[in-house]
C-alpha cells in the first residue's frame, strides 16, 4: 500500500510539470518537425503540369473556382499571371477555371507567399483570412466564401493542396521549397 501511495505522491506534481513543459516547448518542436517533414514530400514535377514551362523550378499559386460559381474575371480556362502581374496566357485544356500566379523564388512561409502572389492579380484574387487558435484560416479568395455555396453537401471550404497532395498543415504553417505548387480549390464534406 505504501509503495502505491508514494508513487502517486511524486507522479502527481511530475505529470503536471511535464505537461506544462511540453505545452511551452510544443511550438518550437512543431516548427522543427514541420521543416523536417517537408523533406519527405517530393517536389512533384507533375504538379507543374499545364503551367508555363518558364515556371519550372519556380513557386506557383493556383486558385480554382467551382463550375457553378465561376470567378467573373477568370471563367474561361486557367489564366496564367507572371510575378510582375502581367498576363502570360490562358490554358483552356485543364478542365477547370481560375488563375495561377507563378514565377516566384525564395519563399518559405506559405501565408507570405499567398498574400504576395495574389496581390499580382489586380485585386481579383484578394484573400480573406482570420487567425484563430490553431493558425490562419482562409475563408475567402477572389470574393468567394465557400460558406455561401449550396448543393448536395454538408459544407464547403477552401481546400489546400501542396505539390499535388492535400496539405497536412494550414497555409500559415506551410513550409515551402523552391518549385513548390500551392493550389486552392473548393472541397466539400
Amino acid at each position: 500500500m505504501s509503495s502505491t501511495d508514494s508513487m502517486s505522491d511524486w507522479l502527481k506534481p511530475a505529470s503536471v510539470v511535464a505537461l506544462l513543459a511540453l505545452l511551452l516547448l510544443a511550438p518550437s518542436i512543431q516548427d522543427r518537425l514541420a521543416e523536417e517533414s517537408t523533406r519527405y514530400i517530393e517536389d512533384n514535377e507533375s504538379s507543374h503540369h499545364g503551367l508555363p514551362a518558364e515556371w519550372d523550378e519556380q513557386q506557383v499559386l493556383c486558385i480554382y473556382f467551382p463550375s457553378d460559381s465561376p470567378h467573373s474575371e477568370f471563367n474561361l480556362g486557367v489564366t496564367m499571371i507572371g510575378p510582375d502581374g502581367e498576363e502570360i496566357g490562358t490554358n483552356e485544356d485543364l478542365n477547370r477555371t481560375g488563375a495561377c500566379v507563378g514565377g516566384f523564388e525564395g519563399y518559405s512561409n506559405g501565408l507570405d507567399f499567398m498574400m504576395n502572389s495574389t496581390r499580382m492579380a489586380n485585386g481579383h484574387l484578394s484573400v480573406g483570412y482570420e487567425v484563430g487558435q490553431w493558425g490562419a484560416f482562409v475563408h475567402t479568395i477572389g470574393g468567394l466564401n465557400p460558406e455561401t455555396l449550396t448543393g448536395d453537401f454538408n459544407g464547403a471550404y477552401w481546400h489546400l493542396d501542396h505539390n499535388g497532395a492535400s496539405s497536412m498543415v494550414g497555409i500559415g504553417d506551410l513550409v515551402m521549397s523552391e518549385g513548390d505548387v500551392i493550389e486552392w480549390s473548393i472541397g466539400t464534406w
Partner: protein, 217 residues
C-alpha cells in the same frame, strides 16, 4: 442590448472555464455513484461514458489531453474486454457527433480505444494486484497506448492520400502524440486511484469471470 455570450475568451480562459465545468461534472458523477448499489456495473459504465464524453469535449483546448484512454484501460482491467469495447465505441461516437466532428476517423478511434481496452483486460492481473492499482505500470501502459492510438488513427489518412504521405504526417503529429502520452500520465496520476476504488466496488464475481474469459479467448 448586451450579448453576454459573445464575450471573447482567450484559450487559457476557455481552458480554465472548461476545467471548472468538468470539475462540477466529476463531482456530481461521484455523488451519483454513491447512490448506486455495489456491483451495479452498467450504472458505473454510464457514469464513465458521461465522464469520457464531457472530458474529451471540455479538454479540447489542449489537443489529445483527455481522460478517455485511461478510462478504457481501467474499464478493461476491472470490467473486462466487452464492456471496455462498448465504452470505447460509445465515447468515440457520442463525442464526435456532439462536438469533435464525425467522419471515417470515428471508426478508427473506436477500434483504437477498443483495442486499448482489450489490452487493459489482458493485462488486468498485472495492473491490479491484490485489489490495488499498480500506478507505475498503468502510467507506462497509458503513455504507450496514447502514442499507439494516435498512429493507428493516423492510418485513416490512407483513405484520402497515398502511403508516401504517411511518414510526413506522422512526423508532423509527433507533438500531438506526446500530448496524448503526457496527458494520459497526468490522468493516471490524479484520477486512477479514486476511479479504481469506485470500479472495484462494482466489480462483481461475474465481471472477474468476464475478464478471465476475455483473456482465455
Amino acid at each position: 442590448m448586451y450579448d453576454f455570450h459573445n464575450g471573447y475568451l482567450s484559450p487559457l480562459q476557455t481552458l480554465a472555464l472548461n476545467v471548472a465545468v468538468l470539475s462540477i461534472i466529476v463531482l456530481s458523477l461521484i455523488r451519483s455513484e454513491r447512490s448506486l448499489r455495489d456491483q451495479s456495473q452498467w450504472g458505473v459504465l454510464i457514469l464513465l461514458a458521461i465522464f469520457g464524453v464531457s472530458g474529451r469535449i471540455l479538454m479540447e483546448p489542449i489537443p489529445n489531453v483527455q481522460p478517455v484512454t485511461v478510462l478504457v484501460i481501467l474499464t478493461g482491467a476491472y470490467f473486462g474486454a466487452p464492456r471496455a469495447l462498448a465504452l470505447a465505441a460509445i465515447v468515440a461516437l457520442a463525442s464526435n457527433v456532439i462536438f469533435m466532428g464525425h467522419g471515417p476517423w470515428t471508426i478508427f478511434q473506436a477500434i483504437g480505444w477498443g483495442a486499448i481496452g482489450i489490452c487493459g483486460a489482458l493485462l488486468s492481473d498485472k495492473l491490479v494486484v491484490n485489489e490495488k492499482l499498480r500506478l507505475n505500470r498503468l502510467a507506462l501502459m497509458a503513455a504507450a497506448s496514447g502514442i499507439a492510438f494516435n498512429w493507428f488513427v493516423s492510418l485513416s489518412i490512407l483513405l484520402d492520400t497515398g502511403f508516401s504521405m504517411l511518414v510526413p504526417y506522422l512526423l508532423n503529429g509527433l507533438v500531438f502524440d506526446l500530448y496524448h502520452a503526457f496527458g494520459n500520465i497526468l490522468f493516471v496520476a490524479w484520477m486512477a486511484t479514486p476511479l479504481g476504488e469506485i470500479m472495484s466496488r462494482h466489480r462483481s464475481s461475474q465481471s472477474l469471470e468476464a475478464v478471465r474469459d476475455g483473456v482465455a479467448n
